[in-house]
Symmetry: C2
Subunit: 659 residues, 2 copies
């Protein structure tokens, strides 16, 4: 009975998501022009997804075959291949639902904003909530089904669950890396030729790359973010289940699933708090409300089930760590705080000082998340051992339903502002949608911090799971730090995030270059600005899609192949590799995300009329900083989340091949 | 007899240095104007050193007292305090000699260039050679004397030697961090107001910060580099001596000293190769010549002494690793190679793309040094265990005498070019000194890479020494990676280089701000540009000095205090801290140094007339990149070398306090 509870909460989650979809689709989509733009964005997004699916299909088939073959020669259960396929399918499904709804909700948000900001908020937030609920619902259903089917057979359960996680990771890899390259190459292409060279405003419908740019927000921030957190969510639960054998509590194995289920219920009930005139405080109330509700019911249920509070405290420190990281991100990136304003001031002496100040702030902003996560790790360990560390990850991600809702609300609001501009809805409506968008930027920044933090703690949980499982398979390993093999692993592992970031930043540059050429060509040949011809949006979408998917292959292959090679060489080197990559990836991701966010908001601070305002010397300098920060925060940084988790899960899946 | 050989080579080294000093001082210093400028630079440099010594004196006294007290309560030998003082004194002495000679050689190089480029090269290189020979000479004499005095008493020898290393590290900390902040704040202050705001040329004598800028080259690149490598040099020998108990070769304990002594002889003999018309190939011949000579005689001596080649191969892989890192640095930063030219091309679309391309190149440039060092570590270990890893570090640093000579030649040539400009020696002489300077930039970049690589391998050697010594003192530690304490250490350790870099980059910004205000004030109040008044160079020197020394305190304290706190908490966390800091510090240092060097040379590539040349849109963008890169490559990057070594040596010295 108790074992069915998580499955039940998953179904509640999916049911709620459908109710919200019906609610959104009932809303009017606005005038003909708005519908037309919205459809173009939707078409572009679906084009990207379909192209991406083709590549993913090849990848999935190869991996499945490999897993089947490996199950024949090693003690890897053949069901792992099935679980892998299911994980990939569920993650893809969640992303697909979320993105389809987001691209339908954008025009409806703009239309609802005609009534009031509050109405616009409700539509945009509901769309984000669909994504959030789809992710946690499908995540918990997937893990529960495998748990219920194979839960009795401990010897194969873990392997099968790792397969499920690996499937989720694969989709996340494609969605984050490909989506990240797509969104920034389209953005830079649109801005560089449109805004900078031709001097037309942002979101001007004459810009051939404008649809690709709006598609990018959905591809990167909705589908990419969703897949990233789907991965963290299921991986954290899986590692807690796999480490349950280390403790002796009753229900230890199903406890992580129950905690996750309670988190879903808390998220859904807290969604009613998302109201009020002030958009930012409405969203914040929802977030904090869900955390408090969750903490209370988790405490009560732990008391009833286990009559031991230790596991609950492990969950709690994870939850608190997530909040601390979110708040720290907000502090270091918000335009209302000192760090971003310091960057704006540095912009007064030019682009170089703007960039140096941003680098300095990005670097120092790593301290709080690192220290907070270390404290959470040690405290969770003191309460419940390695199992406790995995529980901390589950705790941090427990209220993901609503966290992701506030994240995915951002791109919808951003698109709504774009549609309001392109469809010429007038000053008032544009202002309203832009105020929604502004809050979306803040929550998106916090969401990025949260995504990084959850990736790091999930990767840690997976790392310790790997160590424990490796001991089972190849005997207690001599993983002393005195070993130069382990140290080699740490060095090479720490280097991989640098290599990976270099490749993704370089990829954006190359893909953006192609986009720039195309936009220039269309302006020149079609005479769009002279009013003679119309822009060809689709071609730009195709170029961005192809560029992103091609550029994705090299870094993605690295993430899968390197741990296997190192693992075959020496398992202790692989442990070092995972430790080094997790530490350095966590740091670099925070550095890139926060520096990028702070540069962005320093520019916005100036644009709000400070230090000379738009068009001033400081503004021009801040625009340079913002452009540098864009691929850092939207491509390289988020891709690192995937890298560190993927390498751990790959190591776990292929463990039977090592040693 | 054999034990006296290293001491003998040290004396030869010092004697050769004195001979070179006599040779340099005999050269004419040029006309009155040149002597005047040279004296001003020298005075500024001495002012900085004297101010620095006051702070160092306080620091040294506090640490000595602390060591004396600790020796009373723990089994730390009291002689450690004496060794600490000696290490600090020897490092300071080497830097003092090198810098005094460099500031005397600058005008003489300019004067000698009147005859020919070759004559100029000989003076400048001789000055660099004085620094190189002083460093290796005093280094080997210091270690030898303590080795000869306490060599019989193994129980205290290591502790005493660590004290000597700690003294050297302390000076390096002040010289690198303080010097790094000084040189860039003076440089940015001079450029921002002089070149950018007022449009007067580089090195214009009307610029009040021009002397401070020239002083900075000596303070940062001569004294700072010298102290950094003095530290690496003695630390590598010390760790090899301390690990000799792990192996059973005859002469294992004195072998590292003998290898270092052979390296000194090889360096001195190779100095005769530094000739020929082409400046760059002359220096390169010297470098490769010394490596080949050293390898041959080390092979022969190993054969005679040990009749076992394994230790020799460990030495050899270190030597090769150093060459690989140097060549990799040259490839990624030289203006004649693809990476820097790619940045220059990216500058055609603006500062943002210039910076992104540089970041991408800086990040990917970490791969070769990391992989090469890991291979060296593993191979050295296979040949001679942990002792072999320390020997690899000794091998890499064996020919330091000549490597440092080519490094420290750069700032002298740079100063000579400045003096030629300020004293108005005419087009021809300026061109000659600038051609010397240009080669100096390339060798300086290679030298930076070498300094980072040697810091990393020395830190590794110290780390393994710490693990082995910690096992002796507190029993075999449970340093399994399954421990969240160790993982906490890795996370926090990996974070420290980010924090440290943030502080040093921020410090340059603040110190440069003060300099900018002063230069602006002098232009405004004195009417210098209108020819009414004269600039007050000394005030600028004082401001840069004070700013640098004040800003140095916070990051320096961190480096000393954090390992002690973590060590007192848990020794296994400290091991993680050192491992994490070494990996992340190595990576970040290479990233910052190579990105900075490549941005610099991309600008120079454009200035040489490519892609529109000076004053073009691309050039302006490249100048922004260069300004961003300056504190990265000259302050933050080099300071990390010190951080990783210092934390290891602090851990070794204070080991009796832990556990």
């Amino acid at each position: 009975m108790l074992e069915l509870f998580p499955l039940f909460t998953g179904l509640v989650s999916i049911f709620s998501a459908f109710a919200l979809i019906v609610y959104i689709l009932k809303k009017p989509a606005g005038n003909e022009k708005m519908v037309e733009i919205s459809k173009a964005i939707q078409k572009g997004a679906i084009t990207f997804l379909n192209e991406e699916y083709k590549i993913i299909a090849i990848f999935v088939i190869i991996v499945m075959l490999f897993l089947f073959v490996a199950s024949y020669f090693t003690n890897l259960p053949w069901q792992t291949a099935i679980a892998f396929l299911t994980g990939a399918f569920f993650s893809g499904l969640a992303g697909n639902i979320g993105m389809r709804v987001a691209t339908k909700a954008n025009a409806r948000t703009a239309e609802a904003s005609k009534k009031s900001v509050r109405n616009g908020l409700l539509v945009a937030f509901s769309s984000g909530a669909v994504m959030g609920l789809a992710v946690v619902g499908l995540g918990i259903i997937g893990v529960s089904v495998f748990y219920l089917t194979f839960g009795e057979d401990s010897s194969i359960l873990s392997s099968i669950l790792f397969g499920f996680g690996f499937g989720a990771s694969s989709i996340a890899l494609f969605a984050r890396v490909g989506g990240g390259i797509y969104t920034k190459s389209a953005d830079i292409g649109a801005d560089l030729v449109g805004k900078v060279e031709e001097g037309i405003p942002e979101d001007d419908p004459r810009n051939p790359a404008v649809i690709a740019d709006n598609v990018g927000d959905n591809v990167g921030d909705v589908a990419g973010m969703g897949a990233d957190l789907f991965e963290s969510y299921v991986d954290s639960i899986i590692s807690a289940i796999s480490l349950a054998f280390l403790v002796t509590y009753a229900y230890a194995k199903v406890y992580p699933l129950i905690i996750a289920g309670l988190g879903i219920l808390a998220s859904i009930s807290a969604m009613i708090f998302v109201r009020g005139k002030n958009v930012y405080s409405a969203l914040r109330n929802g977030l904090f409300g869900s955390a408090i509700i969750f903490a209370v019911i988790a405490f009560v249920i732990t008391h009833i089930l286990l009559s031991d509070y230790n596991p609950f405290f492990a969950v709690l420190v994870g939850l608190i760590d997530g909040i601390v990281i979110g708040l720290s991100t907000e502090y270091f990136t918000s335009e209302q705080r000192k760090p971003a304003q310091k960057i704006a001031k540095a912009a007064q002496t030019g682009a170089a000082t703007d960039i140096l100040q941003g680098m300095s702030i990005g670097m120092i902003s790593t301290a709080i998340p690192i220290v907070s996560t270390c404290i959470a790790m040690v405290v969770a360990y003191e309460f419940a051992g390695f199992y406790g560390i995995a529980l901390a990850a589950v705790g941090m991600l427990s209220t993901l339903g609503i966290t992701l809702a506030t994240d995915c609300y951002g791109p919808v609001a951003d698109n709504a502002a774009g549609i309001a501009e392109m469809a010429g809805l007038g000053e008032e409506i544009r202002k309203r949608t832009e105020s929604l968008d502004a809050v979306g930027n803040t929550t998106a920044a916090m969401g990025k911090g949260f995504a990084i933090g959850s990736a790091a703690i999930t990767a840690l949980a997976l790392l310790f799971t790997f160590v424990k499982k490796a001991e089972e398979v190849v005997g207690v390993i001599n993983v002393k730090l005195t070993s130069p093999y382990l140290m080699t692993g740490i060095f090479v592992g720490a280097m991989l995030p640098f290599l990976f970031s270099s490749l993704t930043i370089g990829a954006v540059g190359r893909a953006a270059g192609k986009m720039v050429n195309e936009v220039r060509r269309q302006f020149r040949e079609f005479g769009i600005l002279e009013g003679k011809g119309k822009p060809d949006y689709e071609r730009c979408v195709k170029i961005a899609t192809r560029g992103a998917l091609r550029e994705m292959i090299l870094p993605s292959s690295l993430a899968v192949i390197v741990p296997i090679i190192i693992g075959v060489w020496r398992v202790e080197a692989l442990i070092g590799l995972l430790a080094g990559a997790t530490a350095s990836g966590f740091l670099l991701a925070i550095f890139l995300a926060n520096a990028g966010g702070a540069w962005d908001n320093a520019k916005k601070y100036i644009e709000a009329g400070n230090l000379g305002g738009k068009g001033s010397f400081a503004h021009k300098a801040a625009v340079v900083g913002d452009t540098v920060g864009d691929p850092c925060k939207d491509t390289a940084g988020p891709s690192l989340n995937i890298l560190i988790k993927l390498m751990s899960i790959v190591s776990l899946v292929f463990l039977p091949l090592f040693g």
